[in-house]
């Protein structure tokens, strides 16, 4: 009755759904598990990223002391302190706090702390969180809390993180600017959280004792109340020299965000891919279940269920799967994120937030979003089967339990072609806000297109076999069945292709990347030995005299000293690496050039830019560019070439050592590459070099062989891809589980058919063999298609996603061995699953099976 009370209308549907779930719980559980895994991975990756980012920005704002506006130097060398009074007199600026900021080593090997030299009288107005609280020293010469330390040039205040293992009153050594100075711990920085190692001392002491006289790295600004911040910023911008730049909390946030955004988006996308695979599994599970229940649905139609209601029923099943899977996924995701933070740290091994130990940030927003995504995936996966169920002609379906698709009709290829075409087109689109969104869209479209092409492709691949007789019942029956039930075969193939292709795409990309990095390492590490100062601190290193002493070490034929500093190109981008390398520095490791080079015209300063830098700033060979190095006129630098660099994602610029010294006055060098005299023993020379380092740097200098560095670099690479490998493995497992579930469901659904065959005199063994053949064929077809599609998708990853995310290119190096094993694994697991399911199916009583309705 159409005027029935509405709450009762779903009763029949509820009976049907619950009855189905009770009858086939494993099928529902598999689909829900696929969704749960996708949701869990997506949420976990997101939570870890969000936690790490919030930790990182907390650390950044800890150092910044929450200044409203900042002027920062573009290099660690700082800008002239004369800017300070100039800005202080600008109208609209209420107060300016001058800051010396540098990284310093300490008396603990390997430790670096951020040193802030503050004028406490200014900072108290602008950045009160950076003011130290004097504490009574422990022990005999204890003093009460006083303010005496404020101007004491030997007093240093430490953040709680830096204070760990130290005590107030103890001395602490800070090494920066080529100097080593001892300070006394006067107290703690209560306004700085646990996240950062910070040491605050008087600005004059910092300038004098850590070698930054006359220079400042930062001016923290407080604006007058009620002024137009944008206008003041505009005015300030005009007055800034080229080596200083205006930074707002917003631009800082953008900077820390862009630092790791590409990496985070990539992980997010990987996680979403897992969800997508889950979606395909829901689709195949639902499709099979709908196909199996076609006569049941027909009966319901005959009994008076409208199409809409049937559609709603199948959708409700999908939603049930989505809610259950999503709910479990959320719980799993929180657990996973917590575990990942503990085990891998906030950057998931990516190396972006070294040292940070973030707390899990629990927010309901993302959980709801991923629950929604899981639900949407399940609903979308159910949509096509639901429509199919509702569309079926009840009179026909009631009689005929077979495939609804007529085997004689060739499946349409144009939707697949359209999707693949759109995917290919999207691959050529540029990045959106520094993230290759369209690249990912391209991959999704290719995936959808590939899956959509499966019915046709399966037909093409099988048609070659169809006419042939193998002289055995099993293969003949298997091929005929696959060919005759194209939609069932396609459904099974969907899951196989979706998971295989994603997995293959990732594997090819990672192997290409690793291969390219290996080649690159061989190119950039040609010298015999490499010397490096650990936790060098700002401005530290070997002075010219010490360089000469190292050069005269016995056994050293040539030594090339280098210096790496940071160069801030803009306020909202992570800094570039500025590398000073020696004249004609081929022995320092010729940068592996990409494309042509062009000599610099007279008067221009020649620089090589790294590939990411060229991408990020749009630099081309032969172009005159500006770099914010003090006192250089516009267009002073000339790009002579672009070199491949996998080490610095945010770009690097190399200039000749003498140019660097002339521009900055900095004669210190922190790294060196050494060529040995013929016949000299590497080990001996390494020891001699270590013995020859200045006392000041004793124990902080490492001398390494290229092989060691290479191994270390590859270890770092593998570590940063560990999560990728993990996600990939999960995708493989989900994919294979899906294949297994699909095949076993299909097999069990055909019990009646097997009973009929048994009646016809087909032996159990033959049926099992037929099923195994079918499974193997499905696995082979799916594997071939998946690997082909995956190779195509890997090209998008290699040539679109990676350059747009990380700004470096690589050569395709497919892991043939792995691809082969994946193919074999698919065939084996598909055949094996069919075998196991088949044995169960044929063990049922044949007579009874024939009599069974559905």
């Amino acid at each position: 009755m159409s005027n029935a009370p509405p709450e009762q209308r779903g009763l029949a549907a509820r009976w049907m759904i619950l009855g189905e779930w009770r009858a086939h719980p494993m099928r529902v559980l598999t689909a829900a598990a696929a969704i749960a895994i996708g949701v869990a991975l997506g949420l976990a990756v997101h939570l870890v990223n969000a936690s790490a980012l919030s930790e990182f920005s907390k650390a950044v704002s800890a150092v910044n002391g929450d200044a409203e506006l900042q002027v920062r130097s573009t290099t660690s060398l700082g800008f002239d302190e004369g800017l300070y009074p100039k800005l202080a007199r600008t109208s609209g600026v209420a107060a300016v706090s001058p800051v010396v900021e540098l990284e310093a080593g300490t008396d603990r090997p390997g430790e670096t702390v951020t040193v802030l030299g503050l004028d406490v009288l200014r900072a108290v107005v602008v950045t009160p969180s950076l003011i130290g609280r004097p504490l009574a020293a422990e022990g005999g010469d204890a003093r009460g809390p006083t303010m005496e330390a404020a101007f004491d040039e030997s007093a240093v205040f430490l953040s709680p993180a830096a204070l760990v293992g130290r005590a107030v009153g103890q001395p602490i050594e800070l090494i920066a600017g080529g100097r080593r100075a001892t300070f006394r711990i006067a107290g703690v920085l209560p306004g700085v959280g646990e996240e950062r190692r910070l040491a605050v001392l008087d600005i004059a002491a910092a300038q004098w004792r850590l070698g930054t006289l006359g220079r400042l790295q930062r001016l923290d600004l407080k604006l007058s109340p009620g002024v137009d911040a944008a206008r003041v910023a505009g005015v300030l911008q005009q007055t800034l020299p080229s080596d200083a730049q205006l930074v707002s909390p917003e631009s800082e946030e953008r900077r820390s965000d862009s630092l790791s955004r590409a990496y985070r988006v990539n992980l997010d996308m990987l996680a979403l891919m897992a969800l997508l695979t889950g979606g395909f599994l829901v689709y195949s599970a639902q499709s099979l279940s709908v196909a199996r229940r076609r006569p049941q649905f027909a009966l319901l139609r005959v009994l008076g269920v409208r199409r809409r209601a049937l559609l709603a029923q199948v959708m409700a099943e999908g939603i049930g799967v989505g809610v259950a899977g999503g709910g479990v996924g959320i719980a799993l995701g929180f657990g996973l994120a917590d575990g990942a933070l503990r085990l891998l740290g906030g950057d998931l091994g990516g190396g972006y937030f070294a040292g940070a130990k973030p707390q899990l940030v629990l927010t309901p927003g993302p959980a709801l979003v991923f629950l929604g995504l899981g639900l949407v995936t399940a609903v979308v996966g159910s949509l096509a089967p639901a429509r199919e169920a509702a569309r079926a002609q009840p009179a026909v379906a009631l009689k005929n339990a077979g495939d609804s698709v007529d085997p004689r009709v060739t499946p349409a290829i144009w939707p697949a072609a359209l999707l693949l075409g759109a995917g290919a087109a999207a691959a050529f689109a540029p990045a959106v806000a520094g993230v290759p969104l369209l690249g990912y869209a391209s991959m999704a479209l290719l995936l959808a297109g590939g899956v959509a092409a499966m019915p046709r492709l399966a037909r093409v691949l099988l048609s070659g076999l169809k006419g042939r007789s193998f002289g055995h019942v099993a293969p003949d029956l298997a091929i005929k069945r696959l060919w005759g039930a194209p939609s069932q075969a396609a459904v099974a193939l969907c899951g196989v292709v979706a998971s295989t292709s994603l997995m293959v795409a990732m594997a090819v990309m990672v192997s290409s990347f690793r291969g390219s990095v290996e080649d690159w390492l061989a190119q950039v590490l040609p010298a015999d030995l490499y010397v490096r100062i650990e936790s060098v601190g700002t401005g530290g290193g070997f002075d010219p005299e010490e360089q000469a002493r190292l050069a005269s070490t016995p056994g050293v034929a040539g030594i090339a000293f280098m210096r790496t500093t940071m160069l801030r190109m803009s306020a909202d981008a992570p800094p570039l690496a500025l590398i000073a390398r020696p004249e004609g520095g081929l022995d320092a490791g010729a940068p592996p050039m990409i494309g042509r080079t062009e000599p610099a015209p007279p008067g221009a300063i020649a620089v090589y830019v790294s590939e990411p830098a060229a991408w990020l700033y749009g630099w081309k060979v032969g172009q005159r560019i500006d770099l914010p190095i003090g006192g250089t006129p516009p267009g002073a630098f000339f790009v002579t070439g672009i070199w491949r660099d996998y080490a610095r994602q945010h770009g690097a610029v190399t200039l000749e050592s003498h140019d660097y010294t002339a521009l900055t006055g900095d004669r210190w060098r922190s790294e060196a590459s050494v060529t040995l005299e013929a016949g000299a023993d590497r080990q001996d020379v390494a020891e001699a070099l270590e013995a020859n380092v200045p006392e000041r740097l004793a124990g902080r200098v490492s001398v390494a062989e290229p092989a060691t560095l290479r191994d270390m670099a590859l270890r770092l690479f593998d570590r940063s891809f560990a999560v990728t490998y993990g996600l990939e493995a999960i995708a493989i497992v989900v994919g294979l589980a899906g294949v297994a579930a699909t095949i076993s469901a299909q097999t069990l659904a055909r019990t009646k058919e097997f009973g009929m065959l048994r009646h016809l005199g087909v032996t159990k063994g033959q049926i099992v063999a037929m099923l195994a053949t079918e499974g193997a064929l499905l696995g082979a077809v799916g594997g071939l298609a998946g690997i082909g599609l995956g190779l195509a998708m890997s090209q998008v990853l290699i040539h679109v996603v990676n350059p747009q995310s990380f700004h470096w290119t690589m050569e395709t190096k497919p892991p043939w061995g792995l691809l082969f094993s994946v193919g074999v694994a698919l065939v084996v697991s598909a055949a094996g699953t069919a075998l196991v399911a088949g044995r169960r199916a044929v063990s049922a009583d044949a007579v009874r099976a024939v009599r069974e309705d559905w």
Binding site: E81, D152, A204, L213
Partner: protein, 357 residues
């Protein structure tokens, strides 16, 4: 002399760094050093501490009466003199300004503090010229004192024209502060300054005229260790005379030391020995903020060659307490007071807690 007070504040900030091997040597204040002007209006950077202290009464066009103070302090912390950094805190400048508005019933005040340098904070030598950011106090070539200071919700833009010569306190400007000879300062005052200018409160400007008092002191020596606080008063008398009196108190509230001077209209000056100054208390006020009890209505009696003279001091209003604990300073009472035939400022310190150095 009370102006040590904020000097103490600064000293708190900078007092002897421990283990400062090369602590600077401060000159000691000696008697018999003649003061020379305008040079002594300017800073004496070698001395440990110094202040320029203007207090007074203003009458707005509408007839309302206000008290005000504008004070600049200079302090020389015991830092390493060899530090070549332009930021080396060789001199710290501190300034304080307050308005006593009976309509408001409490002080409006503001402050500036900075290390000297970069032209942003300077205390000139040679003549009076002090600046910290946008705050300024200077002496013009014509001999007038000009100040412009602004705090939260108020601005003082005042000119002070001298009507009388400089009044040297103590023995020719050598003023003892305690029982030991070293406990002393160079000290001079310029009373009966004719004040004019404008005051802005909460965005509303009024023209004002009035009378003010300039106190100048510099020293390297601290208070006697037994001292917990002091009382100081400076009065511009209606007949043109000027009275200054102070006492340094011990824990029992007894005077450890006292002093003062009275310059009559005709210019004759009577200087008081410690026994010749007596402060009495008529009414106390308890601060609701700090719980401190201040004797805000009191008597001052001095023995002059002509006999004892006595004044009764009544505050413009009760709550002229200044709580600067938030910025690391002490709590004290500093307010406009009137008396029979005169008006001036009274300073009461060490009532909330002992002034510890």
């Amino acid at each position: 002399m009370g102006r040590w007070l904020a000097g103490v504040l600064v000293l708190l900030l900078v007092s002897a760094a421990p283990a400062a091997a090369q602590a600077p040597t401060y000159p000691t204040v000696r008697p018999g050093v003649a003061l020379r002007f305008p040079a002594d209006h300017g800073a004496h950077p070698d001395f440990r501490t110094e202040w320029w202290y203007v207090t007074g009464w203003l009458r707005a066009e509408g007839g309302e009466e206000l008290g005000f103070q504008v004070t600049f302090f200079r302090s020389r912390p015991p830092v390493e003199p060899a530090n070549p950094s332009a930021f080396a805190p060789k001199q710290i400048l501190f300034a304080h300004a307050a308005i006593s508005d009976p309509a408001l019933g409490r002080l409006m005040h503001g402050q500036r503090i900075a290390r000297a340098g970069f032209g942003l904070a300077e205390a000139a030598t040679g003549d009076m010229d002090l600046s910290i950011d946008d705050w300024r106090l200077r002496r013009t070539p014509e001999g007038r004192y000009v100040t412009k200071v602004a705090g939260d919700g108020f601005l003082l833009d005042l000119v002070f024209a001298p009507t009388q010569p400089v009044l040297l306190q103590g023995e020719g400007g050598f003023s003892r502060k305690g029982p030991l000879p070293g406990q002393a300062s160079h000290y001079y005052s310029v009373p009966q300054l004719k004040a004019s200018g404008s005051v802005i409160r909460n965005g509303k400007a009024v023209k004002v005229t009035g009378a003010a008092w300039l106190d100048r002191e510099w020293s390297s020596t601290l208070l006697d260790p037994a001292a917990v606080g002091w009382d100081w008063v400076g009065l511009n008398l209606d007949d043109g005379g000027a009275l200054m009196a102070f006492q340094v108190r011990d824990t029992a509230g007894r005077a450890l030391w006292a002093g003062g001077s009275l310059r009559s209209r005709d210019g004759t000056v009577a200087r008081f020995a410690p026994s010749e100054v007596k402060f009495g208390s008529l009414r106390s006020w308890r601060s609701p903020r700090t719980g401190a009890v201040y004797p805000i209505e009191r008597t001052v009696a001095v023995r002059t060659p002509q006999g004892e003279r006595r004044w009764t001091l009544k505050p413009l209003f009760d709550d002229q307490e200044l709580d600067s604990r938030a910025s690391g300073g002490p709590v004290y009472w500093e307010g406009a007071v009137r008396t029979e035939g005169g008006r001036g400022y009274l300073e009461l310190t060490g009532y909330a807690s002992p002034m510890k150095l």
